[in-house]
């Protein structure tokens, strides 16, 4: 239909494949997110530490550079699995703040403005909606966590040679698995809170609160009950336990690896359940 005619005509062209439609949501979400200067600046700040790591890896593999500046290199500067574990901690902290900023703006505006029926009256399911919204966080957080982590690993592998790579290939797997689990848990938590708390600022605050309040409550439970299972309420410690095992690093959290995995699975399942309950075309008013 031509604009000048201004009469209604049906669309008769081709359609996109149904499987690809969940990718429409992240495209529009990113277009909106990048309009925020604060987010762009914070996103850039997330790469400072990986850049520092690149410098560290370069120097560790080129000690002569330090010597040429008159700095005694010694043995203290070397690339070990702990470097990648520290990388996980630091980047996880950045992703935590990034999620608190981005997560609440994903689902709550749709609920506040009653947009859900518009999504679901089309050939677009609730699973696709959740997958689409979640992919925004998964993609964004992946860019600042395991993606630069694997680049660091590749740089180190290229500088240290095949022997080092063969012996430490497991680090790449640990980086990917450890950070992906963190990203999935954080994304689901952010989406669930965004779906239940319609006010964006409150949802962001609540995401921070879940971690801080959980840590505080867990510590109190440990002290009162003289147990270590209270640490399961502290999601930071739960993730630390998993990462420590993945990077063969001693963990002093007092909780077992199995308990930590179960805790992560339970948190993810509860968040999914909350999301499925909330993300629907209409609200049942009792």
């Amino acid at each position: 239909m031509a604009v000048y005619k201004r009469t209604y005509a049906a669309y008769e062209g081709s359609l996109t494949p149904a499987w690809s439609r969940f990718l429409i949501l992240p495209r529009y979400s990113f277009a909106r997110l990048w309009q925020s200067r604060f987010l762009v600046m914070f996103f850039m700040a997330c790469f400072f530490y990986p850049l520092g790591c690149v410098g560290y890896i370069y120097l560790a593999n080129n000690l002569s550079v330090l010597s040429s500046f008159g700095v005694p290199a010694g043995n203290f500067i070397k690339v070990e699995p702990s470097l990648f574990l520290y990388f996980c901690w630091v980047q996880a902290a950045f992703t935590y703040l990034l999620t608190a900023f981005v997560g609440p703006s994903l689902v709550s505006p749709d609920l506040v403005n009653g947009a859900m029926p518009l999504y679901f009256c089309r050939p677009f399911s609730r699973a696709e909606y959740i997958a689409g919204k979640m992919s925004v966080l998964v993609f964004l957080l992946s860019l600042v966590t395991w993606a630069p982590g694997l680049i660091l690993f590749t740089i180190q592998a290229s500088l240290a040679g095949w022997e080092w790579t063969k012996a430490n290939l497991w680090i790449a797997g640990s980086l990917f698995i450890g950070l992906m689990v963190w990203i999935l848990m954080l994304s689901l938590l952010a989406l669930a809170l965004s779906a239940w708390v319609k006010w964006k600022i409150a949802a962001g605050g609540l995401l921070l609160g879940v971690f801080f309040a959980g840590a505080g409550f867990g510590t109190a439970l440990n002290s009162v009950m003289r147990t270590s299972y209270g640490s399961l309420l502290n999601l930071t410690e739960v993730m630390f336990t998993i990462w420590s095992k993945l990077f063969s690093w001693p963990s002093d959290t007092g909780i077992s690896l199995e308990a930590s995995w179960i805790c992560v699975a339970v948190v993810c399942a509860v968040c999914l359940w909350l999301l499925v309950r909330r993300v629907r075309a209409f609200e049942v008013v009792k």
């Binding site: 201004r6 209604y8 008769e12 062209g13 429409i24």
Partner: protein
């Protein structure tokens, strides 16, 4: 004509409460009005047809597709304009409509083109780059209509399309519905409690009351049938006049004081009445068609 919507014993239950009870009807009009008082189950019926609400019994088909088995295929054929505010506040109208088009399966370039076109069509062309959050209520209604037609649906469901509109905006909405009915190939369901809107736009009407169908009528047929009921007010010998009309096939009843009520046969031309009156030097003071308005139909249905 193949039915557009076919309900076969459709029932919906929320908890222990029957919301829709054993609805059986086949609707095939180009524009179908869904009427009923508040709480009659109109919106629930629409939500059921869209697959939002599960059926507790019976079945329903739209264009021959079962709403339970082929929900996804059906949703590709339907455009829905919800009753309540439904939009994304921090998006421009053109982005919003484009996104909705893409979600319906349009490629992004085609969706952008269609978004511009439908926004011009509904009258939001000049405001299409404004954020939806800044729109007035009437503009939001038009934006909702634009997103409902962007993908060229075969069935357009409008839930209270004139809700909260001022008279000019209401007229504009009614005109758009009429235009789409005439120029497009789509069927339109108008759900409203405003009888005038339905009367102006629909040719078939379904009236619900407490979750049950209380009346189903083809307004076009009723209008045609009403044209055959004529009431005359005369001065002169109306008995002879009525006899002459009866001889031409009319069913006439004299009600006294020069008044004659009659049912005209098919193919009867009104000029015959004037000719017979002129031949008998009878004065025709008034000629009325029976006007059984939708309001009459609705009130009768509510009393039933």
């Amino acid at each position: 004509m193949d039915p557009v919507i076919e309900l076969a014993g459709l029932s919906v239950r929320f908890g222990n409460r029957d919301i829709l009870h054993n609805l059986r009807v086949a609707l095939s009009g180009r524009t179908i009005g869904l009427l009923g008082p508040n709480g009659a189950g109109k919106s629930t019926l629409i939500q059921t047809l869209l697959g939002f609400v599960p059926l507790s019994a019976g079945s329903a088909n739209i264009f021959g597709h079962d709403i339970r088995q082929q929900t996804r295929e059906l949703r590709a054929l339907i455009g829905y304009m919800p009753e309540n505010d439904s939009f994304i506040a921090n998006m421009t109208a053109v982005s919003f409509v484009r996104m909705m088009g893409e979600l319906a399966g349009l490629p992004h370039d085609a969706a952008l083109e269609r978004a511009h076109e439908v926004l011009f069509y509904v009258g939001l062309g000049e405001a299409r780059y404004r954020l939806l959050g800044t729109y007035s209520l009437g503009m939001k209604q038009l934006a909702k209509l634009a997103q409902a037609i962007v993908h060229g649906p075969r069935l357009l469901i409008l839930d209270e399309p004139t809700n909260g509109l001022d008279p000019p905006a209401r007229l504009r909405m009614i005109r758009l519905i009429k235009e789409m009915k005439q120029t497009g190939s789509m069927h339109i369901v108008v759900c409203s409690h405003l009888l005038r809107d339905v009367e102006e736009t629909c040719e078939e009407v379904l009236i619900l009351k407490q979750g049950r169908i209380v009346h189903h009528a083809n307004l076009e047929e009723e209008r045609r049938a009403n044209k055959r009921f004529v009431e005359l007010e005369t001065v002169g010998d109306e008995k002879d006049f009525a006899g002459a009309l009866t001889a031409l096939g009319c069913e006439c009843v004299g009600t006294g004081l020069g008044r004659v009520k009659m049912v005209l046969p098919v193919e009867f031309e009104l000029r015959e009445i004037y000719r017979l009156a002129a031949e008998r030097d009878l004065q025709l003071r008034r000629l009325n068609y029976r006007r059984d308005t939708l309001e009459d139909i609705f009130l009768k249905a509510m009393e039933a």
